[in-house]
Symmetry: C2
Subunit: 501 residues, 2 copies
Amino acid sequence: MMTHAPNPTLQKLKARLTDLDCLGSALGVLGWDLETYMPPKGGESRADVSATLCRMAHEAFVAPEVGEWLQTLLTQLPALPTDKDRAMVQQAWRSYQREVKVPTTLVEALDRASSKALPVWANARKTNQFDAFKPLLTEIVQLNQQKAQALGYTHHPYDALLDGFEPDMTTTLLDPLFAQLQAHLTPLVNNLTQSVTPSLPAGPYPKQAQMDFSHKVLTAMGFDLERGRLDESVHPFTCGLHPDDVRLTTRLDEADPLSCLFSVLHEGGHGLYEQGQQPDLWGRGLFGGASLGIHESQSRLWENLVGRSMAFWQVFYPAFQAAFAPVLDAMPLAVFYQAVNRVSRSPIRVEADEVTYNLHILLRYQLEKDLMTGTLTVDQLPDAWNAGMETLLGYTPKNHAEGCLQDVHWAHGTIGYFPTYTLGNVYASMFWAKAEQAGVTQPIAQGDMKPLLGWLQTHIHGNGLMESPNQLVQRVTGQPLTAQYFTQYLDQKYCLKGAVV
Amino acid sequence: MMTHAPNPTLQKLKARLTDLDCLGSALGVLGWDLETYMPPKGGESRADVSATLCRMAHEAFVAPEVGEWLQTLLTQLPALPTDKDRAMVQQAWRSYQREVKVPTTLVEALDRASSKALPVWANARKTNQFDAFKPLLTEIVQLNQQKAQALGYTHHPYDALLDGFEPDMTTTLLDPLFAQLQAHLTPLVNNLTQSVTPSLPAGPYPKQAQMDFSHKVLTAMGFDLERGRLDESVHPFTCGLHPDDVRLTTRLDEADPLSCLFSVLHEGGHGLYEQGQQPDLWGRGLFGGASLGIHESQSRLWENLVGRSMAFWQVFYPAFQAAFAPVLDAMPLAVFYQAVNRVSRSPIRVEADEVTYNLHILLRYQLEKDLMTGTLTVDQLPDAWNAGMETLLGYTPKNHAEGCLQDVHWAHGTIGYFPTYTLGNVYASMFWAKAEQAGVTQPIAQGDMKPLLGWLQTHIHGNGLMESPNQLVQRVTGQPLTAQYFTQYLDQKYCLKGAVV
């Protein structure tokens, strides 16, 4: 048996990373509370408290001693006691390099611009006045250009930003992926939008019944309600404070039970990933998932591959009908299945079906890349957006709320995030193909989702941030990123005789 | 007009105290969440997160530079720009001196002892096994003795601890106060427990109706639900994160609506104090109230002087009856008033009426003082408790849960806290007498509590921690601490012909 002498540098790094995870968890509670239970007028002081804890975390991480510990430990890497120690050092070094490269003045300028931009954006969207938002968006684009320069890149400035959301992802990998998707999806959308699909009856669908059914679904998925909870918020989200405390939210609309239901399946997928990580990754900076794209793969897998499947609804539809009886009594399963799989040329990304969704992302990806190089100016953005929607989706937005003001990301100061949504869809189909081979998807048709969850936990959830998304995908699927499984899945689901359309 | 050159030392102190208030507010949310919405298994990681933030706050406060800033600023005190600046420096210096005197090893030892003691105490109380708790309580008493030595005192070691909860309070002031109370209360209790008082019908009193009525009462009190909220918890408490975010909790028992109601009045009183402080005290270490005793004066004033008065119930009883109809339809106001003012020889402090309550505190005060000097050992505690209950209240506890294991404070590592409850009652009556003179209590009988709240805000709430409790009491009432108004209040309420008995 090998034994290791205590490594004081390793212990110091671990202690610092634990402090950072504690601050992260506290910030998580503050953020969750902000969206759920905070009194209406608590927002101003909450902003101060969160900003202060963020600053403390940043200062504690970029402190010179952390750089010294990391450089010492990198020379000792092969001799460190465990895989987790090595991953901890490597992951911290990766983040450290990124964080120290961006000057504090730039970080603060982006924070300030975003704080100013968020209310202006919200108002501009409401009043359809892009001009009001333009100066702030221009500033945000410029600051992101500066950030990309500070971070450095080989090929395209967008790569520097992408890497912050999806480690090692580049435009060189994404360009052909999106091209392949576009080539496949455009004719598919044309085929699928020829016929009329049914809608659900008008309701009402009482909120309490929606929450009760949501809890049933979460329990069936294997989400542990002793280690998590579900609340209502305006925008659904997942907040993982620790593997033992994972909070989901959903929206509730009495006219539309599907909004709540698919939010719960989506956030439940995120939540299972958080609950499934090894507890001792927390406190080492290794908790939270391999990347945004991998995280999104778990939410989309449960939302779409499970939650929009006939296998799932064969089991759950009778209980769903009963929960809202008698509203759905006259709607047979086959018709309901068509309703939850309706494909349409619609303007809003977050309401898009699984076929058109990635075309919405492609549009944002193209526009963001061009904004970063300066090929596209903020002035030209609304026209470019509308032209892109026409080309990609055959839809012309009626106003800016349906167009380039619909998403919060840019007002938030964030550029480079959108592609992780498509990566999530693509990864999900790659994982699903392996799960099918392993025989863990078939029991869903009997209402048993435990085998699937067990497989996901073993192959994906457990490792947290211990490997990069590329490494994880290669290990789990035996091949690098490819759109092939996603397009196959859509073809099989939507184009087979006797299927949805 | 006087102008002041910027004082960089003052700015540095202010920035540090703002950081501490931010950490305090984050800890407040974590604590509130722990008691309200945290998933059952979230407790272990929550303990780590809270302990880490506490340590960060302690380290940021006792840092050597803070001592240097404070010593510089103390020499500049008369020249500082505002009263708030002077109070900020004085209050910080007071706390700094206390915190640096207690060695970190002792702080940590008390933390550890308390973490170990809490579950052991809870179990010992349940199983009536004092012996299981004895070694930990012995350790806690010893650590508090060491803490008193470290803090220093002139007359009695208990003074060193008291001062941490009620600045400048001493046994020299409390001994005669409690003696006077005992002399007055003992015959009063004898008189009032001769006759039988009525109880409320068995109910049920639905939880939602209790919550709805609670919100009505809070609104009538002037509690701003845009800057606060009310939730359910096992033990009611108030959590003031900032004057704009004040959270109350209450307990809900379908068999007993009074438990909820008086908790809401009590916590509502605390909450009004938090909401009434000038917002810019937050961020200067001056938010939170002058002392625990002054805080308790506000909760007891609303719970007892308002909430158990005929003036209040003349207005609110019809709505209370309607909320639980038809359960209370046959109970007239006069009988209900007797029920909410029942006086009895009962074992549990938190359930005691306003007449016997301070005898429960006196017992704890005497025992704690004797534990601190070593006159009483932990071995002798249960017998001493039971003998004291017999002498003071004519009641012999049936078990340790009714006896010396009933309160959480000692398991929490806290000695010297209990007297602040009695101080709250005594202060409340002193303030009430002035409020009556000012004519602001009379409108309560017409359902108008705004004049009272306005008076409390002007004279007590606004100033936060800017003055000591002694200074505040002297300023508001024109005299030092005295039990006279409390005993007069009880005499008038309980002994006049035609009153309760």
